[in-house]
């Protein structure tokens, strides 16, 4: 029987997983793997920085629901992946990272470009592997993909020393996966479903509080169906935007620190939270002790460790979000919809009284919310929006209006500035037929914008709207509110960089708008160009603040709806 190298086995194993694209950067220790990659059945996108490669893999995974693949060399290549791995772990993004390692006999000797990759990434991954025997490559790759995408998804890292990549082995297709310590629960327990139904049918002010778990489990249809059947309002967290269409009459939008008043308050006043695929994050709950004080809780999640972590539920349900919501639908059967008109009228009153609002005057400073509403209006219905972290992220989530799942990509849990540009590239590589628009802040953009060179060279025509307020806007907002307007190190400078020239230098089309009347033209040009990446800079009002707002650690009972509430 003929033998192949460990590197060839690695590529074969990735092909076996039907990988379409890998994002990475070669280097000494991983070089053997890059040779057979030239002939691989999948595409390799050469990033400019490993952090970029990692976020590209994440963006690909968010957009497609498949496992994103990132490749890096040993040492700094691997350490540069730590942020994307930590990001993917927080947001449950299925990813497999492959890192080269110095040859086995040099491991532990402080060799050139050596870092203890598995040690460093242990708390930043769902699991990781250090391969010492080329025969392990096939089975470990198969296990890694299985781990990444099943149960609560997450990143898995495989560290392979150079000599293992060069060693020879006889290839065998990997057999069935057996991991005695990994048996995620998929089917919910029927008794729990019955208990949940009992609570729901006797509730007077129920809300469905749903998040990223819905998107990952493909549970949108089951969610919509159950919400309609039982007549229950639906609140979607930052991670769950698009789980139910924002135009759906039951949808209340995002809750929490910058959530809609009606969504946040509905949870506060609720007598039953039906929490599915959420983790009671501090940005949602505010002060947990005063969160939803009247509510009983049904908490359904695929990760049992999330249940009871922040709030002890009356009914815990472990399982897949889609199966749970289908189970609730089946359990509801032909019961009539809940008769909760009074609750609905209260919510509608909050919606009427406290809508999102901004004030764009014809000749006043450009408001970011105005740009977003125009962008939403003019972009394709199924456009994918990718955001960084900060004010622009909150405005995008508030104003976009999501109609389908997997149209919203952002860094939720870790709050990784610089996520948008590379993640948008990954999303576009996975969904080349859809518009992919990065909504970015100027602070975020300057962290990872060099990946636009990747986009230009690799012909991945993403669109980037830079909301330029010449500041770390959210930091500035907090300094305004809580630090006496002492703007310490949050000013990015008014004139630099020149975004148009910067975009052009990186092979993109650059444009700029700073007046409301110029927005439509800029947006339509930006959306038209489809053969190159585009950067549109919008010079927006640097004093605009994100509202509503619940100050960090405060009670969700006190929602600041605008500057007049300060």
């Amino acid at each position: 029987m003929s033998t192949i190298t460990g590197a060839q086995a690695l590529i074969k194993a990735l092909e076996h997983q039907e990988v379409e694209v890998a994002f990475g950067i070669p280097g000494g220790a991983i070089l053997p793997a890059y040779d057979p990659m030239l002939d691989a059945r999948f595409r390799h996108v050469l990033a400019r920085h490993e952090q970029g490669a990692g976020h590209m893999a994440a963006g690909y995974a968010w957009a497609t629901g498949k496992v994103g693949v990132a490749v890096a060399t040993s040492g700094p290549g691997a350490t540069n992946l730590v942020t994307p791995l930590a990001d993917a772990l927080m947001d449950s993004v299925p990813m497999v990272a492959i890192t080269g390692q110095v040859p086995t006999q040099a491991v532990g000797n402080d060799a050139f470009q050596e870092a203890y990759t598995t040690g460093i990434t242990m708390p930043a991954t769902k699991h990781n592997y250090f391969i010492t025997d080329p025969e392990e490559i096939g089975p470990v790759v198969a296990e890694s993909f299985h781990l990444a995408i099943t149960g609560r998804p997450g990143p898995v890292l495989i560290d392979v020393p150079k000599d293992v990549l060069n060693a020879r082995l006889e290839w065998r297709d990997p057999g069935p996966i057996s991991m005695p310590g990994y048996r995620p629960t998929f089917e919910p327990h029927p008794r729990r479903i019955t208990e949940a139904i009992r609570l729901i049918e006797s509730s007077e002010r129920p809300v469905l509080y749903v998040g990223g778990g819905i998107i990952k489990a493909g549970a949108s249809e089951a969610l919509r169906s159950f919400a309609e059947m039982a007549n229950i309002p639906v609140i979607t967290t930052l991670m769950g935007r698009g789980a139910i269409p924002d135009s759906h009459p039951n949808a209340l939008g995002m809750p929490g620190m910058h959530g809609l008043y009606a969504a946040t308050t509905a949870m506060q006043k609720s007598d039953l939270l039906i929490a599915v695929g959420v983790r009671f994050d501090d940005r949602v709950t505010g002060d947990p002790d005063s969160f939803a004080p009247f509510a009983k809780v049904i908490h359904a999640d695929v990760d049992p460790a999330e249940i009871g972590k922040v709030r002890v539920p009356e009914v815990p349900i472990v399982g897949d979000a889609r199966r749970i919501l289908e189970g609730l639908g089946e359990g509801w059967g032909d019961r009539p919809a809940l008769d909760i008109d009074k609750w609905w009228r209260t919510i509608e009153e909050w919606q009427r009284k406290y809508p999102l609002r901004f004030d764009q005057t014809a000749d006043g400073p450009l408001k970011p919310q105005y740009v977003l509403t125009r962008l939403r209006e003019m972009a394709d219905d199924d456009a994918i929006v990718v955001s960084g972290v900060g004010q622009h992220q909150m405005w995008a989530s508030q104003y976009w209006g999501f109609e389908q799942p997997r149209r919203w990509i952002n860094s939720g849990g870790l709050g990784t500035m610089g996520f948008a540009v590379p993640a948008a590239i990954g999303a576009k590589a996975g969904k080349p037929g859809q518009q992919v628009i990065a909504v970015d802040g100027d602070g975020c953009f300057q962290m990872t914008c060099q990946e636009l060179i990747t986009a230009a060279v690799e012909k991945i025509p993403i669109k980037v709207a830079v909301f330029n307020n010449s500041a770390h806007g959210m930091v500035r907002q907090w300094q305004r509110l809580f630090y006496n307007e002492r703007f310490s190190s949050s000013d990015l400078g008014m004139d630099l960089p020149d975004y148009v020239k910067l975009a052009e230098a990186m092979g993109c089309v650059g444009m700029r708008a700073d007046r409301a009347e110029d927005v439509d033209e800029a947006v339509s040009r930006m959306l038209e160009i489809d053969d190159r990446p585009v950067v549109a800079e919008f010079e927006v009002d640097r004093d605009e603040m994100v509202f509503p707002m619940v100050p960090a650690g405060g009670s969700n009972d006190i929602v600041l709806t605008g500057p007049e509430d300060l």
Binding site: G119, M122, K126, F130, P180, G181, P304, A305, G308, K309
Partner: protein, 167 residues
């Protein structure tokens, strides 16, 4: 006040598992009092007995369960489990004071495993409380060195079933 919990954790015998377990406990803010690891009767599996200070048992168990190499976790209630620990203790024992030391050691079934001109080293085995009692009583003689194995523990068989098995 944090409770001391005794967890018996069955893990796959793979490199790095101990690091994963201890890292996770540290990451979640749980303080390890003692940790003993050894092979089991099943090849490929090891048993860790972890004594941990943690505010809440369920979270510790659930977080540990997320580790891919952790196969099974049981909490051992001191009332229904056998707990043992080994201690090596070197006590000052110059010629004139040996008898007092040996008398106390005899009561605790401590075995002298090394005798020198001015000291005796004892091996003591037993429940953690017994070891602590011995330590407190021997302390006035002068403790020169001390090593504990960390606790190992096993659930007792339910009495009813044991009787049935015998009958």
């Amino acid at each position: 006040m944090n409770e001391q919990l005794v967890l018996s954790v069955l893990v796959e015998d793979k490199p790095g598992v101990l690091a994963r377990v201890s890292l996770l406990l540290a990451r979640r803010g749980f303080n390890i009092t003692s940790l003993a690891v050894g092979p089991t009767a099943d090849q490929g599996l090891s048993r860790m007995t972890i004594v941990v200070n943690a505010p809440e048992l369920e979270q510790v168990k659930k977080q540990l369960h997320k580790l891919i190499n952790v196969v099974k976790i049981s909490e051992l209630d001191p009332d229904s489990s056998i707990e043992r620990e080994i201690m090596l203790i070197r006590v000052k024992a110059a010629a004139g004071r040996r008898s007092g030391v040996l008398e106390l050691a005899g009561i605790f079934n401590a075995t002298a495993v090394d005798v020198a001109a001015n000291s005796i080293t004892f091996l003591v085995t037993g429940a953690p409380a017994k070891l602590n009692d011995f330590l407190e009583l021997i302390r006035p003689f002068g403790v020169m060195d001390l090593v504990k194995s960390g606790r190992i523990a096993m659930r007792r068989e339910p009495k009813a079933r044991k009787l049935k098995a015998v009958g």
